[in-house]
């Protein structure tokens, strides 16, 4: 526990921006008309693959026009 308290100031900001990334990906997924591949699959990828999931979604999952 002691150690965890030491890590907090270092790791908390990282955890927060990860969370922001995840939330924006989810918001975008909900709003977007169509994605490359099924939406539910992207939802799973975003939620369960840490960090890489949301980035993957933004890079290849989004489809415009």
């Amino acid at each position: 526990m002691d150690q965890l308290a030491n890590y907090m100031p270092i790791l908390a900001p990282i955890a927060i921006i990860q969370l922001i990334l995840l939330i924006t990906a989810i918001i975008d997924l909900v709003r977007i008309e169509r994605t490359n591949g099924p939406k539910w699959l992207w939802a799973l990828i975003i939620l369960f693959i840490n960090i890489i999931g949301p980035i993957l979604y933004f890079v290849i999952g989004r489809r415009s026009n």
């Binding site: 150690q3 990282i14 921006i17 990860q18 990334l21 924006t24 990906a25 933004f58 290849i60």
Partner: protein, 259 residues
């Protein structure tokens, strides 16, 4: 000028609407910060993972701050480049493919402004994202290891950003010259890899190659000072950017918008 700003404003607004202003900087932070964190916590991580035979003692020499920062920067020239290319490859090609470029260019819009505003928009995103990401990496490295002087941070930022801008401009050029975003991305990546590989393996012959800028930046970090070759390499990088952009405009103007 006002038309150019209108075009640029549209680019930046689009990047808000599709959240690029959020996810690209965050990705760049995570990409770089990973390095100081994992280096610092490596002993604990190995400990927690366990599985080492009883009594085995692993000696991991603590890396220097410069080494950590250099490895962190390495992420930007690999995965960072991948993200830059993937997010930029469709910038012109996909607008032409969908036909929306034709809707815009039947208005009295200069082709030069159209291409350069797009370039400026994506360059702005890259510069800002890379700055935030590298700043975070620098901060974590200083916090966990040793502080690297801030002016060295700025110098190395500038060198790396210049090389990344060359790659971004190659991507914009391919996007203007080719109809398919996918092919544009593939060729840009291939070009970036070939230039890096050739310049690195034959570094004695290609001292002025823009790809060497990253090597000169690393020299700054390990305390060797600014290399004499960095000026010609930097000038060549700027020349490459200008030439590629002019070619993009030229080719784009020649191509017929309606297929």
């Amino acid at each position: 000028m006002s038309q150019w700003l209108t075009l640029l404003q549209k680019e930046t607004l689009e990047m808000w609407r599709n959240f690029k202003w959020i996810w690209v900087p965050i990705t760049f932070i995570l990409l770089g910060v990973k390095e100081p964190l994992t280096s610092y916590y490596m002993p604990q991580i190995l400990d927690a993972v366990g599985g080492l035979p009883e009594g085995a003692v692993i000696q991991i020499p603590t890396p220097s701050a410069a080494e950590v920062l250099i490895t962190g920067l390495g992420q930007y020239t690999t995965l960072g480049v991948l993200i830059i290319v993937l997010t930029t490859m469709g910038i012109i090609a996909s607008e032409r493919k969908s036909g929306v470029a034709a809707m815009i260019l039947v208005k009295p819009v200069s082709f030069q402004s159209f291409v350069t505003a797009k370039w400026a928009g994506s360059a702005l995103l890259m510069w800002i994202s890379f700055f935030i990401g590298y700043l975070a990496t620098w901060y974590y490295t200083g916090f966990l290891f040793e502080w690297i002087p801030f002016d060295q941070f700025l110098q190395t930022y500038f060198f790396y950003a210049l090389w990344l801008t060359v790659i971004l401009t190659i991507t914009v050029f391919c996007s203007a010259a080719l109809m398919s975003p996918g092919i544009a991305g593939f060729i840009s990546l291939a070009a970036a890899i070939v230039i890096s590989l050739v310049s690195n393996t034959l570094s004695n012959w290609f001292e002025w190659s823009p790809a060497q800028l990253t090597a000169y930046a690393n020299e700054v970090l390990i305390g060797q000072g600014i290399s004499d070759h960095s000026l010609p390499a930097g000038i060549l990088a700027v020349v490459c950017i200008i030439v590629l952009l002019s070619l993009s405009v030229l080719i784009f103007r020649k191509k017929e918008l309606a297929a």
